[in-house]
Symmetry: C2
Subunit: 394 residues, 2 copies
């Protein structure tokens, strides 16, 4: 049967994150490996109430096939939110509801990428984006990110002689590294892409989860005609409904709609109505504050524990929001090898390899602080520090 | 921006069905154009009750990210249903829950089709399949269908000198034509494909909606190692949740899972739980009987009205189930031209063109009987007969 498969599917990297998550099922193992939002903050009762209201308000139309664009009142809410929180003038017509923002990545690949097209990719970058785009066989043009954002020398080098069609960015509290692009860095990246035949994707699932520092204006302010915004309800309200959205300029939106219809006709109308009702009933900012307070204190606990327990030669990022933190071992050491030692110490993380399109045995690792309380974080980081010590002593 | 688009997206046919559906919004227009299940039969109260139970039973896990394969108890229910109703031995491990069976088509295209690969396609065939596959740029190898199934001479001709990778079939109450493949035809098609490096897709959204005749065994009985089954809850329970499934042999299932993860991570866990709870609480066959009785009597009303009101030179299929019926004008006449006359008579249908990959100005048309009562059907068919008479008189 192997000869049946399309070439494209063999390009998609398999991730070993699933295998890691199996190790993490052992309750004696402390896991910093997951990428899940903390279930304690799901507004369960509120969503149940919203569901009851939706049943009462909508009747049978709730269950019928619906529009590919998505539920208009929900798109209007999103447009208003962009206006209220970021001052962006985005019309509901420019918004397409997707089955999670992961689907937005698939649709962009479908509509924009011919085989071999250049795609600027953060290194490290979001694994789900690497997987979604790999299907369409682009040439990944990797650009390192650091605590300012994209490394501009690397961006300049990649732009010499190539005309990338897409640039993929997570400028706020990036997955996997937790870094954010500074204002100056966004400006510099935008200037380099301005006027080129290139779409910049600003994927922003974590933007609302800022626990320190000041917000920085979106790429949309700098490159409105070339920017596609991806958003998600997964991190701020609920992941299991699979609801996200994309904002795209008109001619691209028409093509995205064709692709959306061909892909799954439309996203569940029922869950769109429930989330809309929830947003009508509740103060989302109050809800966000609860999550932000918890993630912020957990992140601070993780950084403090690292200060105490990690060898001096191990460096790590200091996120202002989101769910992830990124550590770097001395370059000669492999995070995969550390993983083996860490499992014995009953602590797990995700080694950095899957977050690069071109690297193995990297010396970096992702740690998530979203689902672990401060006390457990300290124990887990101490264990991990011990494993690092063992490794360095070899 | 046009130069940005991938070649594949320009291959996807735009359908004018959306435009037709706009005409159909006028309440004085009788529409046989829609492809919607009848909303009267959505089990609204039962789904509401199931939702309440799911909230009570599952707690917060209901809202978390979930497995790409889908909710195991729902997959087990589907496996049992295949066993109970068709005697098929299918394990839950061979079942992947999809965001509607439309997504199954997209995933199959992703995993199997290289550009230019041969794909046997029914003519006329399901528009959504033409759209989903077009994204992956196959060579469509069209095979006419008639009231027995695939026209074997055409199938033989297409198999000479080509090695299609996929064969797409809707053997029960096909959309758009309402025809079903006979037992002998299935056997003949299966024998021709057996042992070839070719996957046969049996898309079966309407199979449970049989109102006359006897069930015919699935392709899965004849070609188990080469058959992929697609199923859907859209026509029998609820379309708006976007829930379908696929059954595939093991090595293909592994690739489909990779593609599913890259496409949308997983299908909404919440809606899967609700449908599963509904199926646990209720006798699905009793529910199906209600739908079948209604669609059967509406189909008979449509056929009787056609006998009365259509010119003798117009032919039409006599479905044993499903939602659609297919009419053929004398070959020199265009269904698009008839459409213009029909709108003036305040009745609409879908001209046949979008159901072919290679035809325009076809003389065929699709009529849906699912959402129109018998009395209105008679009025609408009389109007359409009048438009046909006008056309023939020209």
């Amino acid at each position: 049967m192997d000869s049946l498969f399309a070439d494209r599917i063999n390009d998609v990297p398999r991730s070993f994150i699933r295998e890691i998550l199996k190790v993490a099922l052992d309750p004696s193992v402390i896991s910093f490996a997951g990428g899940l939002p903390n279930r304690e903050f799901f507004p369960a009762e509120e969503l149940q109430q919203a569901t009851e209201q939706v049943f009462a308000l909508q009747g049978r139309d709730l269950f019928q096939y619906s529009s590919s664009e998505g539920f208009l009142p929900l798109r209007e809410w999103i447009a208003k939110r962009y206006r209220d929180t970021q001052g962006l003038d985005i019309s509901a017509d420019s918004i397409l509801i997707t089955s999670g923002s992961q689907q937005g990545l698939d649709l962009l690949g479908k509509v924009l990428l011919n085989e071999g097209d250049g795609l600027l990719m953060e290194a490290p970058g979001y694994l789900g984006a690497i997987q979604a785009f790999s299907i369409y066989r682009p040439e990944f043009l990797n650009v390192a990110v650091n605590e300012q954002g994209m490394v501009l020398e690397e961006l300049d080098r990649q732009l010499q002689g190539t005309s990338p069609k897409l640039a993929y960015t997570v400028p706020n509290f990036q997955n996997p590294s937790g870094i954010s692009y500074s204002d100056a860095n966004r400006q510099a990246v935008a200037e380099r892409l301005k006027g080129k035949n290139c779409i910049l994707i600003e994927d922003n699932p974590y933007g609302d989860l800022r626990f320190s520092g000041d917000p920085v204006a979106s790429f949309y302010n700098r490159l409105p005609e070339q920017t596609v915004l991806l958003g998600s309800f997964s991190k701020c309200v609920i992941p299991g409904f699979r609801l996200g959205w994309m904002v795209a300029p008109e001619p691209l939106m028409q093509k995205l709609l064709v692709a959306k219809q061909a892909t799954d006709l439309h996203t569940s109308h029922f869950t769109q109505c429930i989330v809309h009702q929830y947003l009508m009933n509740h103060d989302i900012d109050a809800h966000l504050k609860t999550i932000i307070d918890a993630y912020g204190s957990q992140c601070r606990a993780m950084m403090a524990a690292m200060d105490r327990h990690f060898p001096d030669t191990v460096h790590y990022t200091r996120p202002d929001g989101g769910m992830f933190l990124w550590a770097s071992l001395p370059e000669s050491l492999s995070a995969m090898a550390l993983f083996e030692l860490a499992v014995k110490q009953q602590v797990v993380f995700v080694p950095g390899d899957p977050f690069y399109t071109d690297r193995s045995n990297s010396s970096t690792l992702r740690l998530s602080f979203s689902c672990v309380d401060a006390e457990t974080i300290d124990v887990g980081i101490e264990r991990l520090g011990r494993a690092m010590g063992e490794m360095l002593a070899k």
